[in-house]
Symmetry: D2
Subunit: 102 residues, 4 copies
């Protein structure tokens, strides 16, 4: 299973890009993939191909409307089928025996 | 104000590194900085110097215990004092007129 | 055209991973895609689909041999067919009217 | 020793940002730190504090002129004093017994 955190935005549209980020999030939300929005990007979970398919569709959405697009991705693959969307944070809290801001 | 998402872990300790991630989160939690833990890293908010100071202390914690450390950071600076830890997500939800997974 | 800088390595194989990086570079070099190796990753140039296809093949190479894999990607898309592999650096040197280390 | 690859640019200045990238590279080149410019960023080498000091000065240069700035950093720390700016690439070429594009 792959956890992928990514952020994608046009760099030719000025300071505020939330209208473009909203389009991407709508695409992700409708895709049915497991995801979580954070203040700095979106975390997707699935197989490599599932995750890359969703990210590619997001890119193609922006490509049509933009002269320049910046994308960042950070991927953590771990063998096995177990979801880690919640368990990575839980494992850190358990080790510290306290609750963290999440 | 700076929003900084970062992840930091030793790469010479094998597959499971949550014991090291826990040490970093303890450092961050005790520092008093505004933060949010995500499945793929930690988002800090503050001035450039405040944020870099906390990240440097985390690095020095791992440096002492590791032969090799990998760090990733993504920073979004926007002029002004307004916190965006919650408002970036709220702005996307408002544009879509629906609630997202967060 | 897309310029994509990426780095990919197993995190369950200890401190030295150059044997795995070598396999990836061999895959890239044989693929025929335009690329440049840097001290911190590899820059590919092509269409989104060409670039993602090569990166996916690299991932699948490592996936077979590893329990955990870390991937980072940074992508700069700009409309048009012009290669920027050399011209981005040249443009900075021209503005500064001096040669830089490259 | 730390190898740090970073890219930094204002996102409120439209599509072409090479004038800002040039200012950063001038700052780096004058600082005397070991560096290499790539098509997607700049690789610095030194201690954590040396590298962070240069990157902070670059940020403060852009902060004065911009409403919004995007920064990405990827850091590879390895214990010891040996420079890896050339040796990481050489080690991959040696394993493959062929020269790569660099």
């Amino acid at each position: 299973m792959v956890l992928a955190e990514f952020a994608m935005f046009p760099t030719d549209k000025g300071e505020s890009v939330s209208q473009y980020v909203a389009q991407i999030l709508d695409e992700i939300d409708r895709s049915g993939i497991t995801y979580q929005l954070t203040p700095m990007g979106t975390v997707l979970e699935g197989s490599w191909d599932e995750v890359m398919d969703v990210i590619s569709r997001c890119f193609k959405l922006l490509e049509k409307q933009s002269n320049r697009v910046s994308v960042n991705m950070k991927i953590d693959y771990r063998k096995g089928d177990r979801s880690r969307m919640k368990s990575k944070i839980a494992s850190v809290e358990q080790k510290l025996k306290k609750e963290l801001n999440k």
